[in-house]
């Protein structure tokens, strides 16, 4: 399991479009993907879940990837959160 707290640097925060990019990418991996913000945990493969976290730019979230391809998943997904995709 990889777990790390990341500051969201994507310029609009996790708005619908970056959130859908995140979900589409997360679905490519078999690992379980989760995001925690302010103590609330949602699945990283659920766009509705992510939207309800209302992640603005500068928000701190914890990204958790757990599974066979957790390393690849984590590195790829981190990029979206950091606005580097």
């Amino acid at each position: 399991m990889i777990k790390e707290t990341i500051t969201i640097l994507n310029e609009n925060g996790l708005h619908a479009l970056p959130a859908s990019r995140f979900v589409k990418l997360a679905e490519k991996f078999t690992s379980k993907v989760e995001i925690i913000k302010d103590g609330i945990k949602v699945s990283g493969k659920s766009i509705m879940g992510i939207l309800t976290l209302a992640c603005e730019k500068g928000a701190k979230v914890t990204l958790i990837c757990n599974g066979k391809d957790e390393k690849e998943a984590f590195n790829a997904l981190k990029k979206i959160l950091k606005g580097q995709d």
Binding site: N12, L17, S43, S46, M48, T52, A54
Partner: protein
């Protein structure tokens, strides 16, 4: 008989429509809970799957229509809606609860969606609150399909309809059939809303943002939509109907008479070519520009790219739009104006006392450098078509122009090092819309390839009048001698510096102003597409020496009224042929 009432709103799409109210009710579908016997729970779950499948078909179909009719960049909200629809987490939760609670699919689905919507609406960020609209739009569609209902849809509007709604969900606005729908009136919405953009693309008059609209109209009654002035007239008196009918007839006659001018070149009678171009806001309008015979695009406003999605469009999204536009107009020029947005539109927590004198347009871009560079990169990449020019809004100082050029050069260097092609000779220009830029125009002319005078803002800033303020809006007048004098100053400085000078405010499409502007030496006039045939007709009637005389004389007057009276006399005396269109 009930009295006539005039309701005010935002003029979102031009034109006059007289027709019968067709109320689009976005009433929420009522859901009831029903216990389900265990043996039927599998069927309940299958029903949900089918409804979702059906909804996906519908959304994909709408997405296809938007791509064809309005432009690909515009339908992206549907992409997000489809993902919300197919969210595995939600579907699985609903199914689990169908089995554990033994209740009907619509009830459980509605419950689950409401929980998500509740969480979203409690967010402090406006953007996330507004996504509730998308989620509810999707959910209502699913519920409709689960219950086998046919919701009222604007598709059903009979011929001669005026659609009246509190708000049209984005997926609904795209279903409007221009053959049956004459006009649109809504309680919500502004100039950049989905409905406004759809209405303009279809050339249907629309007035939006009318408070308390639904409580004042009934299905089937006759109303008038005045999209030019932003009015909705209910219970119109027969004299009001006559007035608008006559106006419509006159407009149609004039349009017919002017139609042949679409095809003719924009030249004065004595053969001087003046670019008559179009101001547009989104890609679909390029079609109108061509239809009305625009030379090129004199002003492509890019704000809607931002506002339509309430966020920065990616470089790729922007590139696609700029590139498609350049390709469509080739070899004629397309002038792209960089974001002319107020800081409050970009940062939801940013407020200021005087937005028009505040942090906006180029001032935001120079500070938010990455945001600015992203747009410049997209424009430069599209410039391989060799017909794109860049224009910067709200310039007030020399330093701003210098800083813009430094940033532009940085972007060019970055592209070169990545071996990305662009037009190395791309022309850059500035909007002259502050008195400062006008007064400083001879110094600025040495730095850029063209000027485009934004006469609306120039008038507002020169006369220090906010035209939106009803108490003082009568002070706002493009023909004010101070404004005319500044325009002359800018044209002269431009020509002394060997650069061309255009004008892209309302004044450009005003037939009374054209002889004056041409006489002052303007090289390009950019206006809303539908104003083009008339402008060409005027242009093809006038001659340069006479216009120069008129301009010289016009500069002597003391008030806007005197200037206008003089221009009317001059037209009457020299070019009586155009009196009918003024």
């Amino acid at each position: 008989m009930t009295k006539e009432k005039i309701l005010r709103g935002v003029p979102a799409s031009k034109g006059i429509a007289i027709g019968n109210v067709f109320i689009y009710e976005a009433r929420e579908i009522q859901v009831f809970q029903t216990p389900i016997l265990s043996i039927y729970l599998n069927e309940e779950s299958a029903r949900l799957e089918r409804a979702i499948e059906q909804t996906k078909k519908e959304l994909t179909e709408i997405r296809k229509r938007i791509n064809q009719e309005i432009g690909e960049d515009f339908g992206q909200f549907l992409e997000a809606q489809i993902m919300m629809l197919e969210d595995r987490e939600i579907i699985d939760t609903v199914k689990e609860r169908i089995f554990s609670e033994k209740k009907n699919a619509e009830y459980i689905y509605h419950q689950v969606i409401s929980e998500y919507a509740q969480k979203l609406s409690s967010s402090t960020d406006i953007y996330f609150q507004e996504r509730v609209i998308d989620i509810k739009d999707v959910a209502q569609r699913v519920l409709k399909n689960l219950l086998g209902l046919t919701r009222t849809s604007v598709i059903e509007a009979p011929p001669g309809s005026i659609i009246v709604a509190h708000d049209l969900p984005p997926s609904e606005a795209t279903l409007i059939n221009p053959k049956n729908v004459l006009g649109i009136a809504m309680e919500l919405g502004g100039r950049t809303s989905h409905t406004a953009i759809t209405a303009r693309a279809l050339e249907i008059p629309a007035v939006l943002g009318i408070e308390g609209l639904l409580s004042r109209v009934k299905n089937g009654e006759t109303v008038i939509v005045d999209g030019n002035r932003g009015l909705l007239v209910t219970n119109p008196s027969s004299s009001r109907i006559n007035f608008y009918e006559t106006m419509k007839k006159k407009t149609i006659l004039v349009e017919k008479a002017l139609a042949p001018y679409c095809e003719l070149p924009p030249e004065t009678r004595d053969g001087r070519h003046i670019d008559i171009s179009a101001n547009i806001e989104f890609f679909a309008e390029a079609e109108h520009a061509k239809k009305y015979g625009a030379w090129g695009i004199g002003l492509f406003r890019t704000e809607f790219l931002y506002l339509a999605r309430k966020g920065t469009p990616s470089e790729e999204e922007q590139f696609k739009v700029y590139n498609a536009l350049a390709k469509k107009l080739k070899p004629h020029p397309v002038i792209i104006r960089t974001f002319d947005l107020g800081g409050d539109k970009i940062f939801s927590n940013y407020r200021e006392a005087n937005p028009f004198l505040g942090w906006r347009a180029i001032r935001v871009c120079l500070e938010e450098k990455e945001f600015f560079k992203k747009q410049l990169r997209a424009i430069l990449r599209a410039s391989v078509n060799k017909n794109i020019k860049i224009m910067f809004p709200m310039i007030a100082t020399f330093e701003e122009v210098k800083r813009i050029k430094l940033i532009l050069n940085e972007v060019k260097e970055e592209l070169k090092s990545k071996k990305v092609e662009f037009d190395e000779e791309i022309q850059i220009g500035i909007m002259v819309e502050t008195p400062s830029a006008a007064i400083l125009s001879s110094q600025l002319a040495g730095e850029v390839d063209f000027f485009s005078i934004g006469s609306n803002d120039l008038t507002q800033y020169t006369l220090a009048v906010d035209r939106g303020n009803e108490k003082i809006s009568q002070l706002f007048d493009h023909y004010h001698p101070s404004v005319i004098k500044l325009i002359k100053e800018v044209v002269d400085s431009g020509h002394n510096g060997h650069i061309w000078v255009g004008l892209c405010g309302e004044l450009a499409g005003d037939p009374l102003a054209i002889p004056l502007l041409v006489g002052l030496g303007i090289d390009e006039l950019s206006m809303s597409p539908s104003a083009i045939p008339r402008a060409k007709m005027v242009l093809r009637t006038i001659t340069i020496p006479t216009c120069q005389e008129i301009a010289k004389e016009a500069l002597k007057y003391r008030t806007a009224l005197e200037v206008k009276k003089f221009l009317r006399r001059a037209v009457h005396k020299n070019f009586p042929g155009i009196e009918g269109v003024i």
